[in-house]
Subunit: 195 residues, 2 copies
Amino acid sequence: MGVASSQAKDRLLHAAVEHALDRGIVDLSLREIAAAIGTSHRMLIYHFGSREGLLVAVVREVERRERERLGTAPLSVADARRRWDHLADPSLRAQERLFFEIYAHALLGRPGTKGFLDEAVEGWISPVRVLLIDAGIDAGIDEDDAEGLARLGLAVTRGLLLDLLATGDTAGTTRAFDLFTQLLDLPSGHDLGHE
Amino acid sequence: MGVASSQAKDRLLHAAVEHALDRGIVDLSLREIAAAIGTSHRMLIYHFGSREGLLVAVVREVERRERERLGTAPLSVADARRRWDHLADPSLRAQERLFFEIYAHALLGRPGTKGFLDEAVEGWISPVRVLLIDAGIDAGIDEDDAEGLARLGLAVTRGLLLDLLATGDTAGTTRAFDLFTQLLDLPSGHDLGHE
DNA sequence: CCCACACTGTACCATGTGGTACACTTACCA
DNA sequence: TGGTAAGTGTACCACATGGTACAGTGTGGG
């Protein structure tokens, strides 16, 4: 069957994700996707078994990229602003939009999204919490504070991304982010900060 | 034609929205929806003209409810926590989930969502900004601060709602929200309204 | 050589899709 | 009373859907 991984399948998956990045995924038919990436719906079925199989593969790939981003993101607290600048970069818009599309999809319990939500929230909060606890030994941050702070930071980031995706207002959302770092008494933007 | 409003149409729309609240909307067929709310796809076409017509009607209704919530929300800052408690109430989960589903849908430029994003962001930021400017005359809040603060408040709320919808962790998200209000030094402070 | 194998094109299937035609009922109003 | 219009049921349409059957293609190894 073609269910196992193979070079052809990988190529198809990559192309399908690329297409999903700017066209979405949840309400597209196999034929639409296939036509867009230069293959036939027959091939998608062959390699992924079914439409749901393709969905799962795409979701997993998005999860993987998200994790990868987590792994390479500078996690030091002082780098918060640099991290935001990275996230706010236009080249990441498509990925974030797809992320939110799948997020909403998963909230409705659609097939192929098991575990996505846990990973999407806990996967980010957890390492930040640990980091904060380590960094906060001197500063007197206890575990509840660390958890709450991690949660709040994630919320600010995701909330501002939703704003950014809707409005495209990089300057405005960045100003709001700087405001947050100021509230935390963190170093804000290097030199392109506010004022 | 049935395109104009009527009692029957209103009943159907209400039922359709109710159904969308816990089953979603964007990837459901007319027949699925119709069967679930005890009518026929024939009737939905009759009253709403087309599937897209129904979609538009549902989106508008969700927008309307969102605006209604905005209108009745207490905007004074001292009430921030009470407002969050209201949002975090399980009875609103379905509405928020549907909101994010449509939000994601709109981010992809799907038909029937024109104006949704503007309303979703600017519709909330704007009144809060005005409120902050008014309240901040004494406290020295300038317009940029007000805009940023409104934006940040909205982001915190939406981000924590995403968290809450995914995890169901009312206590944790509420702790994070409290942390935010503490950072703002709310009890003594200026007004901060968002939702 | 031949066979196994990964892969792909063509053609097809049953079912589901949005949408329509038409007959029919009810109800209100002239 | 009759007519007009909203509303509804039944049956249907052309088409798109996910999925399958089958007959290939090429390629590498024995």
